[in-house]
């Protein structure tokens, strides 16, 4: 049988298929549908130090082959996550990656410290640690923080440096397609000690309600995901993975085993599945086997054979 086991930023994964932040909650809604130990890992909903109520008005809007969301980082805050959700997530038997958001450098750093302490405590008690932190400097849906750090390399450097200082956990940085210079951004993260990169986050987008003569979203712009963004994401993953030596996790519109192979050929070490979870609630239960079948058909024995061949 083809093995899909792999190592990512020093963490052993059963396969390279992870569930993307914001599309999987804290796992629980899907745990009711299928066993989550099939997954390579779960990335939590974006967490900030303080709880956030998220945006008002319309939050999800379907487009041709895509989805625009304006959730606005609604989350219970890191302390509440650690108290109420973390315990249950540990039981799922898959890698847990905490997606970290923030409104200021200080909030990011304190959040990272809290997660790191909790992880250390958990490990000391013989239980699962947090496997990685995914630093989100690319959320287009919040006014402060989020994307403002993801566009400019110098501003991003401050956040990455502060969080790197605050944690000894493996650190991924999630990049925005809005970065002014994507390869410069990626190289900066590598130089600052990131263990890997995730890309892409949603693409800033808009929809207008012509009858109400206003934007569909209270926040004017929102983030586009889904099959519509795949070709752009693929190009960016290709570009970045050839510019750095740390692993790159490919994200954006992946909706089949074929798509996964495309991202691996473009240079991705692993992938994340986002919007596809909504199109097919049991996607996570099936994709690993579908990938194996496709590889067998194509005569690919290991993903290492094809990684970055383009």
């Amino acid at each position: 049988m083809i093995s899909l086991a792999c190592e990512l930023a020093g963490v052993q994964l059963s396969n390279p298929i992870l569930m993307a932040s914001g599309t999987f909650g804290f796992g629980k809604p899907y745990a009711a549908l299928y066993p989550l130990d099939k997954l390579g890992g779960i990335v939590t909903k974006g967490l900030t130090l303080q709880a956030r109520p998220g945006n008002t008005g319309t939050r999800v809007f379907e487009t041709d082959s895509g989805l625009i969301n304006s959730i606005g980082l609604e989350n219970p805050g890191i302390p509440t996550f650690l108290e109420r959700e973390w315990e249950e997530m540990m039981q799922y038997g898959t890698a847990i990656i905490v997606n970290l958001g923030g409104g200021s450098i200080r909030e990011y750093a304190e959040g990272a410290m809290l997660i790191t302490e909790a992880s250390r405590e958990s490990k000391k008690n013989g239980r699962r640690a947090v496997d990685m932190i995914e630093l989100n400097i690319s959320c287009p849906n919040v006014k402060e923080g989020g994307l403002q750090y993801g566009v400019d390399t110098d501003r991003a450097r401050e956040v990455v440096r502060a969080v790197r200082m605050a944690t000894d956990l493996p650190l991924l940085v999630k990049l925005s397609p809005s970065a002014r210079d994507l390869t410069e951004m990626a190289r900066m993260c590598e130089a600052e000690g990131a263990d890997g990169l995730s890309l892409i986050n949603t693409i800033q987008a808009m929809a207008i309600d012509i009858r109400k003569k206003r934007s569909v979203f209270d926040g004017l712009y929102a983030g586009l995901s889904g099959p519509a963004i795949k070709p752009i994401a693929l190009r960016m993953v290709h570009q970045v993975s050839h510019a750095v030596d740390i692993p790159v996790i490919g994200i954006g519109g992946i909706a089949s085993a074929e798509d996964i192979l495309e991202f691996i050929m473009a240079g991705a070490a692993a992938v994340q599945i986002g919007t596809y979870n909504f199109m097919r609630l049991r996607a996570g239960a099936a994709l690993e086997d579908e990938l194996r079948e496709l590889m067998a058909q194509e005569g690919i024995r290991s993903l290492d054979e094809i990684r970055g061949i383009i």
Binding site: T23, G54, T56, R59, E62, I71, P227, F278, L281
Partner: protein, 233 residues
């Protein structure tokens, strides 16, 4: 995958879809329906209209791409049903009114079936549709077309009111029920992506707290629902 038994047009753009299988759902719950591949991207939330031995049915209006695809289903075709989802109507206490406006009658047939002692009010802007099924299973059904159905119900005569319909009707009912002893519960709509509580895309503010329509709803106690959130579908 489930098997389509019937997909009948009941009125212009109004269809009843009946699917084979043993289904268990409470009144007011919904399913995510899908009979296509990757496009359109999202599945469609549709309330349970009725459940009988060996079948479940849905009543829907063709209002866009997804419901048009549903309307093209033929007996023997397959579709995907994910559910039952959400929290439906509570078991009512005392004298109960069931009030539906337009397409809002969809989730109320099951309620009428399960609450034979209730009074049922169905209001339509134009010609009524799908009301014969209500008459067939319930003795006390009032159908009105034109005006607002709220004018035909005196909230103070009831202990519990279960309702579904357009937002202005819900607002009016909430307003008129205030100060009476009646408890008002209504089913609301909001755009959904996952339908299972994973994305926080369907929230509505109630008593100042975000509630996900797909898990904590779609039925809410009238309380302090923020209608702005509902209008911005």
């Amino acid at each position: 995958m489930a098997n389509v038994l019937v997909n009948n047009k009941l009125a212009p753009d109004i269809y009843q879809l009946t699917v084979e299988g043993e289904y268990h759902a409470s009144m007011g719950q919904f399913y995510m329906l899908r009979c296509w591949g990757a496009f359109p991207v999202l599945s469609r939330p549709i309330s349970v209209h009725d459940i009988n031995e060996g079948t479940i049915s849905f009543l829907y209006r063709v209002s866009g791409t997804g419901t048009r695809l549903l309307s093209q289903l033929k007996p023997g075709n397959q579709l995907q049903l994910e559910g039952p989802l959400g929290r439906g109507f509570p078991e009512p206490e005392g004298r109960t009114a069931i009030i539906g406006g337009g397409m809002g009658i969809a989730p109320l047939l099951l309620a009428a079936r399960r609450l034979p002692d209730s009074r049922v009010f169905l209001g339509f802007a134009g010609d009524p549709f799908a009301v014969s099924a209500f008459h067939a299973i319930h003795a006390d059904v009032h159908v009105v077309s034109g005006g607002t159905i709220a004018d035909y119900v005196e909230p103070s005569e009831y202990d519990t009111i279960l309702a579904c319909g357009p937002v202005p009707l819900m607002e009016l009912l909430a307003h008129r029920t205030k100060g009476t002893g009646a408890k008002l519960f209504f089913s609301v709509e909001k755009r959904m992506a996952c339908g299972i509580g994973a994305c926080s895309g369907c929230t509505v503010r109630i008593d100042g707290v975000n509630r996900r329509v797909c898990v904590e709803g779609p039925v809410f106690s009238a309380g302090e629902v923020d209608f702005h959130d509902l209008l911005s579908l």
